[in-house]
């Protein structure tokens, strides 16, 4: 489903105008499996040496968000490999104390309520309890419509130490632009400070 609308252009413009520090990677377009793997490798190349084990959190959030676009964006195109893949935008950037991963894609207006409820439910969980919720959730039978494990937002919240947010911007009568932003502290101590403040 293509969403070629002026309003959607504005969604991407708004996304790119967000102040999230120095950009490391920005990608807009089809998120096929090949793109996921290629961009993941580039990110590893650009970040792994400087961030060590914290890199895994940035990488993990990036993979989860880009696979979300691939599997759940309402705007899709047929990839070279013959599979229908989601279209969206993703950016990894760096600020003084954290890395930021932001992803945006169109969703159907009918799905807004369901996704918003899901996000709000995860947001409501105290940071210290996120892991036990995650462990409980993966033990539940997989949701039938889900291509993943249905625990993506929880995983992002864990890796971001609870520092994440989401937004919905209506595009037109049928579509809404959905963005998730996760902030991954560069050092563990910063994450704990952020939690306490």
């Amino acid at each position: 489903m293509m969403v070629q609308e002026k309003a959607q252009d504005n969604s991407y413009k708004r996304f790119l105008a967000m102040d999230v520090g120095i950009t490391i990677v920005t990608y807009e377009g089809i998120c096929s499996h090949e793109v996921v793997v290629q961009l993941g490798q580039e990110l590893e190349h650009l970040l792994a040496a400087s961030t060590g084990v914290r890199f895994k959190k940035v990488f993990g959030v990036f993979i989860e968000l880009i696979q979300n676009i691939k599997n759940y964006s309402a705007e899709t195109v047929l990839a070279q490999n013959g599979t229908e893949c989601g279209v969206g935008i993703i950016r990894v950037s760096e600020e003084s104390l954290c890395y930021t991963v932001t992803a945006g894609n169109c969703i159907r207006k009918d799905d807004v309520e369901r996704i918003e409820a899901k996000c709000a439910a995860v947001k409501h969980i105290p940071t210290a309890e996120l892991r036990s919720y995650f462990n409980d959730r993966i033990r539940l039978k997989q949701e039938s419509t889900s291509k993943g494990a249905g625990v993506g937002f929880l995983d992002i919240a864990i890796k971001a130490g609870g520092n994440w947010e989401y937004e919905f911007h209506p595009v037109n009568d049928d579509f809404t632009f959905f963005t998730i932003t996760a902030y991954i502290a560069k050092a563990k101590i910063v994450e704990e400070d952020a939690k306490n403040s």
Binding site: V36, V53, K56, G60, E64, I138, G148, V151
Partner: protein
């Protein structure tokens, strides 16, 4: 019954399924396009391995990163191994995590609490 070796790719771990040695070892990253499909072939091998009379297996996980679909597969993996653990079969699990990788440690910890088979958490320095 043959031993099988799956080469490591960027998004899938290497998998060594060794009949003579009685072990299975995974090493690398796991975020395949279809995690359930990727792990099913391993689960099928384990079923066949025990169907031909094996009485023990050592399962070694040296994973660097895995996505949430793979986490679900890891749980299915543990559930399958636990199913075989009992009076006549011996299962041992070694779960490696990089020092300071709290995500890999915590998910391993949760598995070690959930399952009664011997489960070791082992840290390594990259």
């Amino acid at each position: 019954m043959e031993s099988v070796f799956l080469e490591k790719t960027t998004e899938t771990p290497s998998v060594r399924m060794d009949v003579q040695g009685g072990f299975i070892e995974l090493e690398g990253n796991s975020y395949p396009e279809n995690a359930f499909e990727f792990y099913q072939q391993i689960f099928d091998w384990i079923d066949a391995y025990f169907a031909q009379g094996a009485d023990r297996i050592r399962a070694v996980f040296r994973l660097n990163y895995f996505n949430t679909s793979s986490a679900k597969c890891m749980l299915n993996f543990m559930t399958l191994l636990q199913k075989y653990h009992g009076d006549d079969k011996m299962i041992t699990v070694e779960w490696y995590y990089e020092e300071d990788d709290d995500d890999m440690l915590e998910i391993g910890k949760a598995f070690s609490v959930d399952f009664t088979m011997p489960f070791q958490l082992l840290s390594f320095v990259d």
